[in-house]
Symmetry: C2
């Protein structure tokens, strides 16, 4: 069994709750209200900034061959990701200034600080915290692709792309080289819970008071 499967199995049905959340299903069916998605996109954009900073903070603690592949793969495909993001932003009438103006909701604030915390602790800990987001979005992208809603289909065109798939492969390759223990399972589980709470906070449109 791969290390990813070990981690995924260790959280029981939480994984399915994450990648097949009501939010995701409604994206696929095209029934998700656009204002929920807009709320989500702003929070997600703030998330990605801290996530990338956390990756960089963790990078010096990683084995050089693995981190070279990961950074190479991420920065090689970042243009495509940003291009899709820009198109989605245009559809939603949001931009960098609006995103900076809006604060984090509690879940997003907690999740991003969780990532940063483990990026300071060590590479393996960060990897366990980071995997649910990176790998989960691959499954979600493939699932949502083909949505009758133009914006959700556009959004999924990146996470369901071969380029994104390559990112996931190098991350899984690095994950395969470490030894999974109880602490890493806990960190992974926290992140899966955060992903579920992230969808829920977008459906509820939680207050965004944290700057």
């Amino acid at each position: 069994m791969s290390n990813f499967d070990v981690l995924r199995n260790s959280v029981g049905d939480l994984w399915e709750k994450y990648i097949r959340h009501e939010f995701v299903i409604k994206m696929k069916e095209g029934t998700l209200p656009l204002d929920s998605f807009k709320y989500y996109m702003v929070q997600d954009s703030k998330y990605v900034n801290v996530m990338l900073k956390s990756l960089l903070n963790a990078s010096s603690k990683a084995p050089l061959d693995k981190i070279t592949n990961i950074l190479n793969s991420i920065f090689n495909t970042r243009d495509k990701g940003l291009e899709v993001e820009k198109e989605v932003f245009r559809e939603l009438n949001i931009d960098e200034a609006i995103i900076n103006e809006i604060g984090y909701n509690l879940v997003n604030y907690a999740y991003t600080r969780h990532l940063y915390y483990y990026s300071s602790v060590g590479w393996e800990e960060f990897l366990a915290a980071w995997t649910p987001c990176m790998v989960g979005y691959r499954f979600i992208g493939e699932f949502v692709k083909g949505s009758p809603n133009k914006v959700y289909n556009l959004w999924a065109s990146f996470y369901g792309s071969d380029e994104y798939g390559k990112r996931v492969e190098v991350i899984l390759d690095s994950l395969e080289s470490i030894k999974i223990n109880e602490e890493l399972k806990n960190i992974f589980k926290n992140s899966v819970n955060f992903e579920i709470f992230f969808w829920e906070s977008a459906l509820r449109k939680d207050p965004t008071i944290f700057k």
Copy 2:
């Protein structure tokens, strides 16, 4: 105006909402249910561990004279704090093993990671994040002292003590030496909000799923 007053004024009525929260008033009146307090004490104990680690993480970034006073004052009075905590724990039938077994609630997880995050960013940022907890508990301790409830009175006997007051003085002295800007006000405000949410999470007894 002192820097502390500048920060406190910048959050408007949030400061009073924190130090005179329903939770605090019920401690003073002795009407707070003991199981709410027990829930709170477990979360607070987990909080203090990460808070102290964050202080140590930030310490190398601080001016040496200020941090020497702060660490000296905290570690000099830590025995008294631990002694009171031990007595409170005995009254509540909790111990280290129970505290380790129980997870963080979302608010506590977010708050502790917020502290750790800013302890990595810089001393001034950490100080702004840390001040609401350290200084607020001075006001709360003095207010709750004399509660008809033996346990709450015991708890307040530390935060309302001269030893604790000395901790607060050296922290305010360090705070006075920095230049307050908008970012520090934001960090301070986040922490005040976390303190309010911390009381509320204890009244609600939020799920403690984060390890």
